[in-house]
């Protein structure tokens, strides 16, 4: 390659990088104020079912469509998180699949994973004994019609609280937290703004959150906090948005729990890791 050609190639590479950076920035801006993602992944894991697809491409296509159905339904029911298809940077994953318990029973299972660790698992029979024989194995489009009902009624409705609890325990709702300036009155508890757009998540303004920090003194600290039906600009965001304001109530490290007032001086030593939904509460509820 000539010197000129190399130069042209270099320019093209730089231009591409700039474009990608701009796109990433745009995406990041759009995601600011959004709850953190929970990946959803569906695969026809039952060998019996997998074998009846003509080819892998056809099966993948159906799996993606079913995954989209699941994401839509999860988003409607648990909108405190952002459900997305699997991506490498998402730590918490809800995996779904099929299991042929016997040769004649097909079940839909769902398991919540944090990294490689399985948090919880649920299962619902899609085809009880005899049904699969009588009806025959569904074809691609029939699967699309079969799953929404099973997923809604058999898993989301029946195990709604269990799924919510598992998500609350393992899937952070957001990451960024900014401390609000201390109030002049020492009786007023310290407050923080969560990176959640209050216009989208106004039903979280009275909920309890668990804020996780790295402490410069060592270890991780959990601060238990509650929403106070208030929102405030989340300053680091560009463009800024109103985040949900919580008051910090308890400081916990390991099993040692302190009132936040005693640890107020250490708040500036904390680096946010993420915050979790602890309890869903409405206005005025205990």
């Amino acid at each position: 390659m000539t010197q000129r050609g190399k130069k042209t190639l270099r320019i093209a590479e730089v231009s591409l990088c700039i474009c990608l950076a701009m796109i990433a920035e745009r995406v990041a801006e759009a995601q600011q104020g959004q709850a953190l993602p929970v990946a959803v992944s569906f695969d026809f894991t039952a060998p019996q079912v997998v074998s009846f697809f003509d080819d892998a491409a056809q099966r993948k296509q159906i799996e993606q469509q079913i995954n989209s159905q699941f994401i839509t339904r999860l988003q409607l029911r648990f909108h405190y998180w952002t459900f997305t298809p699997v991506s490498p940077d998402v730590k918490v994953t809800l995996k779904l699949g099929l299991r042929d318990a016997d040769a004649d029973t097909i079940s839909l299972w769902a398991a919540l994973f944090s990294g490689a660790r399985e948090i919880a698992r649920w299962e619902k029979v899609v085809f009880p004994p005899g049904d699969l024989i009588r009806l025959g194995m569904p074809t691609g489009k029939q699967w699309l019609a079969t799953f929404p009902v099973v997923f809604d009624d058999g898993l989301l409705h029946k195990h709604s609280q269990e799924i919510l609890d598992a998500l609350k325990g393992s899937a952070p709702v957001g990451k960024d937290i900014t401390l609000m300036p201390s109030a002049a009155d020492p009786d007023v508890l310290p407050r923080a703004v969560l990176a959640l757009d209050s216009s989208q998540y106004d039903d979280l303004q009275d909920c309890e959150f668990r804020l996780r920090y790295d402490w410069s003194a060592g270890g991780k600290v959990t601060i238990h906090s509650s929403g106070i039906s208030m929102h405030a600009p989340f300053a680091p965001a560009t463009p800024p948005f109103d985040g949900i304001v919580v008051q910090l109530e308890q400081w916990q490290q390991g099993n040692d729990t302190q009132k936040i007032g005693l640890m107020r001086n250490h708040l500036l030593e904390l680096t946010p890791v993420g915050f979790y939904l602890e309890a869903i509460k409405g206005p005025g509820s205990d």
Binding site: F52, D104, I133
Partner: protein, 386 residues
């Protein structure tokens, strides 16, 4: 047989049964009917003539005259031919009873028997006498009998018989016999029934028959001349065939538009017309290889299948397993050691799974189908080459 001593030859010519004029040198073999209106004068004339005739002829009745010789020859031929025909009918066909009925003036000839009973004995005897003279004592009958005998020999040398008997079972069966692709006929066999079917054949190229009894595999049989091939149902019709039994999982997959293709010893199957047998769409039923669709699955096999199924799916699965489909519209012979390659193909002709089956010899006290279970191909990474 003759009554020439009693009834002189009348010359009136009034009766249709009158005796024809006879040569005076030969005693008449026949006589006229006794006519009531004959007067005493005629009787005296006849008696006189008779005495003249008797005085000029010797020996009188059983002399070895040509007519007597003819009669003896004809009688011998008739006895031989008739006996031979009866034996042949008795052994090779099931029409002897009908034949005997005809001889006894039964069935459709009952009216004739009735009429003959109405006739007076004298007229009957006269009829018999005329028949004796006109037929039994004539060379043309000899010639006809010799020709018939020769024809019978030729026919016998080109006829064989298939005999099928419903020996066991309490259900009615339908027997279909075809030759060279043309349907011959169908017979309904009740338990204990037997049917004999004469078949035109030759010793050089024995006729190939296709025999099919409802519920059993079809057979192809060569029938040689003078052969009576006896087949008993069910033993003779239980030849080796393969029965593919799908698992419940595969039955559930019948909606995936799978097709079955079978090769025998590496060759694509051909139908009766010589064209390749098409793929069979898999509909969840078991599949016969080597038999047509109209073959029942032995009850022992069905019961074993039923017992091996979980109770939760027994009814649903058995509703598919009761009746089997078939690869071809007619069966074909499978011999011990044959290699049968079964392929299940997807819509895009990709192989879903492949199975190589070695045909085993039939074992005593075992069911005739060689049962082979076919399952979905989980774990079949390297399908066998066929």
């Amino acid at each position: 047989m003759t009554n020439r001593n009693k009834n002189p030859e009348p010359k009136t010519g009034s009766s249709a049964l009158d005796v024809l004029p006879q040569d005076h040198t030969v005693p008449p073999a026949t006589a006229s009917l006794p006519l009531p209106q004959q007067n005493s004068a005629n009787s005296q004339q006849s008696a006189a003539r008779l005495s003249v005739q008797e005085s000029t002829q010797s020996p009188p009745v059983l002399s070895k005259s040509p007519e007597t010789v003819v009669f003896i020859v004809n009688l011998t031929l008739l006895v031989a031919t008739g006996t031979w025909l009866c034996v042949w009918l008795l052994y090779y066909t099931d029409k002897f009873d009908d034949f005997a009925k005809i001889l006894a003036l039964g069935g459709g000839l009952t009216w004739l028997a009735f009429l003959l009973k109405l006739l007076p004995d004298e007229r009957l005897k006269a009829l018999q006498s005329q028949l004796d003279g006109l037929v039994f004592s004539r060379w043309w009958l000899t010639a006809a009998l010799i020709i018939a005998f020769a024809g019978g020999l030729y026919t016998r040398a080109h006829l064989g018989t298939l005999q099928v008997e419903l020996f066991q079972g309490n259900e009615e069966r339908v027997l279909t016999v075809k030759s060279a692709g043309m349907p011959l006929d169908q017979w309904r066999l009740m338990p204990g029934d037997k049917v004999r079917i004469p078949v035109w054949t030759s010793s050089i190229v024995p006729t190939l028959l296709y025999a099919k009894v409802s519920g059993f595999p079809d057979l192809r049989i060569h029938i040689a001349p003078r052969e009576r091939r006896a087949l008993r149902i069910p033993a003779a019709f239980t030849r080796r065939v393969i029965l593919l039994k799908p698992t419940p999982a595969l039955i559930a997959g019948r909606t995936s538009d799978l097709r079955i293709r079978v090769k025998l010893n590496g060759n694509v199957l051909s139908g009766e017309n010589g064209k390749p047998v098409g793929d069979l769409p898999f509909d969840g039923r078991p599949v016969w290889i080597g038999a047509d669709e109209d073959v029942f699955i032995p009850q022992t096999i069905l019961e074993r299948w039923r017992d091996g199924l979980p109770e939760s799916v027994r009814t649903e699965v058995m509703s598919f397993l009761q009746h089997a489909g078939a690869i071809a519209t007619s069966g074909f012979d499978l011999n011990s050691g044959d290699r049968v390659c079964v392929e299940f193909l997807r819509r895009n002709d990709a192989v879903y799974f492949r199975r190589l089956i070695n045909v085993r010899a039939m074992e005593p006290n075992h069911d005739f189908p060689q049962e082979e279970e076919i399952d979905d191909p989980t774990g079949q990474e390297n399908p066998p080459n066929c």
